[in-house]
Symmetry: C2
Subunit: 476 residues, 2 copies
Amino acid sequence: MAGIQSFFEYVDRKDNQDRFVEHLSQWVAVKSVSASREDRGKCFEMMNLVRDEMVKLGIDVELCDNPDKYQTFEDSEEPVPLPPIILGKLGGDLNKKTICVYGHLDVQPAEITDGWDTEPFVLQEIDGKLYGRGSTDDKGPVLCWLEMIHSFQTLKMDLPVNLKFCFEGMEESGSEGLETLIELRRDTFFKDVDYVCISDNYWLGKKTPCLTYGLRGCLYFHAEIKCAKNDLHSGIYGGQVHEGMVDLVHLWSKLIDQKHHCLVPGFYDDVEPLGDGETDIYDRIDFDVNDFKKDIKVNRLIGEVEGDNIKSKRNILMNRWRYPTLSLHGIHGAYDGDRSKTVIPGTITGHFSCRIVPNQNVEDIEKKVMDYCYQVHRESGSPNKLTMRNDTGGIWWKGDYEDNNFKAGANAMFKVFGKQPDLTREGGSIPVTLALQQATGKSVMLLPVGACDDGAHSQNEKFNRLNFINGVRYFS
Amino acid sequence: MAGIQSFFEYVDRKDNQDRFVEHLSQWVAVKSVSASREDRGKCFEMMNLVRDEMVKLGIDVELCDNPDKYQTFEDSEEPVPLPPIILGKLGGDLNKKTICVYGHLDVQPAEITDGWDTEPFVLQEIDGKLYGRGSTDDKGPVLCWLEMIHSFQTLKMDLPVNLKFCFEGMEESGSEGLETLIELRRDTFFKDVDYVCISDNYWLGKKTPCLTYGLRGCLYFHAEIKCAKNDLHSGIYGGQVHEGMVDLVHLWSKLIDQKHHCLVPGFYDDVEPLGDGETDIYDRIDFDVNDFKKDIKVNRLIGEVEGDNIKSKRNILMNRWRYPTLSLHGIHGAYDGDRSKTVIPGTITGHFSCRIVPNQNVEDIEKKVMDYCYQVHRESGSPNKLTMRNDTGGIWWKGDYEDNNFKAGANAMFKVFGKQPDLTREGGSIPVTLALQQATGKSVMLLPVGACDDGAHSQNEKFNRLNFINGVRYFS
């Protein structure tokens, strides 16, 4: 039986890599946008495609009906079926540990008119970067697991662990049905899982691999303000009608100040105090503030201290991982074009969300935000009706990075990249993390495959080829 | 030759009215949205259609190439041809006065998903109301002129005036090319015009006809804020990046307060002071505040005084006609859907506009608004770049409602409706008014045909059938 060295030789070969890329381009071509009613068929197609490929690899696959069955979009009451969830199993050796791998096969919306340089659903390689929607979030990482198995099989190598798979098609739209299924299968499929591994996040930089032991939670809010039955012409009605846009702007201006400090009373009360020596953790991490700024082209970051790279790095990482924040995403119902439309929107909905951290309580923050919004609006004296809605995107999570799961992850990273991974947290939420931890009672580790500049959810999302030159592996 | 009584009998007949409605439905079916690149062909089709119909009526028509020739949309540099402008002439009797009539044949954008109850480009009659985009703005009114001529001709009646027509296809998109053409034909086509009549506005209510002698101007502003190269995931970047949305919200909150008072320093400096007895003008006008509120379903209007209908009416009419205001229209580049997208938009453009009044100066207000925006943004300490753009939608205008043009208009209204029209102003701008006044040096009168609740620029735009029962004409 070939050793791990043969495996590396095999997957580093250009002809094999080209095959992996071609495989990814087939997956990217399936426009499995879970947020769009029109693309729901493509979500089903994607799940079926991967199911078939897994069967070919000898994986024992069950395509589970989504337990939530249907979903309704806001534009119509017509229900839309939810895509199935894949549960798979490979190997049942009682002497081996069983790792459960999670991934998702749906993607964020993307149109070339959003500002992409290439067609989002046509994978295109430029200088070793593979551009396409879903390339890094999360089709690329899922494909890595399947191609790893295929390579082991080709080389007739034995897998050192049993594998279980849980792949869903609704991650970008609230993972509908997933937690119910995990709960339903807690005592069957998930019962004998020893460790959980999730590949759905990113390295902090581009050079040092990472293992991730913490996530912020996400609470999403919708503030609907109705000022008139229909949209109104600002020439006729301007100056007479209390505009919903004015209400929303003042509400938002009282939610967050210009230094991005959240103004909701008590918002920061339960944030874990900075521990003794905690700042050392951040100081050790490989993170270049200037490189980070250059990638996303921002002039100055929040917490940046001019001329003090150490302090800047520390503040920026803490703002990303261990402090909560509030973001304003946009407005539904207002004019969104790029011309000069003179409309007073009749009903608008302002979308914003909070990232929450240990030890903030979901219900407490939701109540504080909602109550405060109603209070601010009431005190504004506006005659318009405000209606708040909210949905929970996910609770924060913090794991133990000293357990065996993380040790094995660190060993693997060292074997591939020749250096110890940084132990990081993520600013975003991955709700399934907590669900899988609770269902299995076991350690969950996030093992990111993509780089910091992959642009998940953005225009020009990409996934890197991994180069192996002079004994070192690095991203293109 | 038949007298005016025969004319009324003819146009009040149901079979003839049905024919007029059928005619309007043909015009509404042509989706001549001037703001959309895709519909530009339909704008040309509409101009050609009306040209052909005018020729059939014996009008001497010239389809003038648009002097500005091409337009570029922001999404591409590919130029799009501008629709032609119709100039027409009927009658050249030197013993008659010559009236020049203006109208436009393009319409605002409309999709049934905007919240229409019926297909916007399929005219549908419900309870005597004719729903469809352009029905009242401005296809219906233009069609009235042509059907009037056709009725006179059918009845072999002689028109008491010579008529000239100026119909354009770009009114909803800045009337591109129109002012140039008017200027070019100032000493030829427009030379012998005695009076100008424009039918492109609305009655103040639903029962009393109006003649309009004043308009507010419109200055449109675009505030572009760039915080990052691309859209960013708020999970990864929230709390690190100064969000453009936060900058825009704070900028807007400092432009207009919650009482809808514009905070730009000096904005109100040149507003004409309230004249002696000026409030009497407003008190005499037939305007029901509660009816008005019910139509658009607003809870309370700006300036409304509880329990004092006279004061409320006065304040509301003054806010609409003689005071300036500022409206927030929406944001380009932010999330505009109705779900929970966790995006930090990379570049956003906030759209807002000011309605200006006598004696505010266009350049002065533009400069005050632009300077103030830059100052507020600079003082906010944001690292993001603000770029202001603006376009002039039109200057304010005030005519003399005691001249012969208005006397003739009042006589005509009295003949049709049996009562004197109210003399009103409009809150919106109609830039061609000033252009035609300047080119001809003659009196311009606005003669509205539509009712206050027609919903120009809104969902469910409609035009009323005119009923004649028991000697009284009224809207359905």
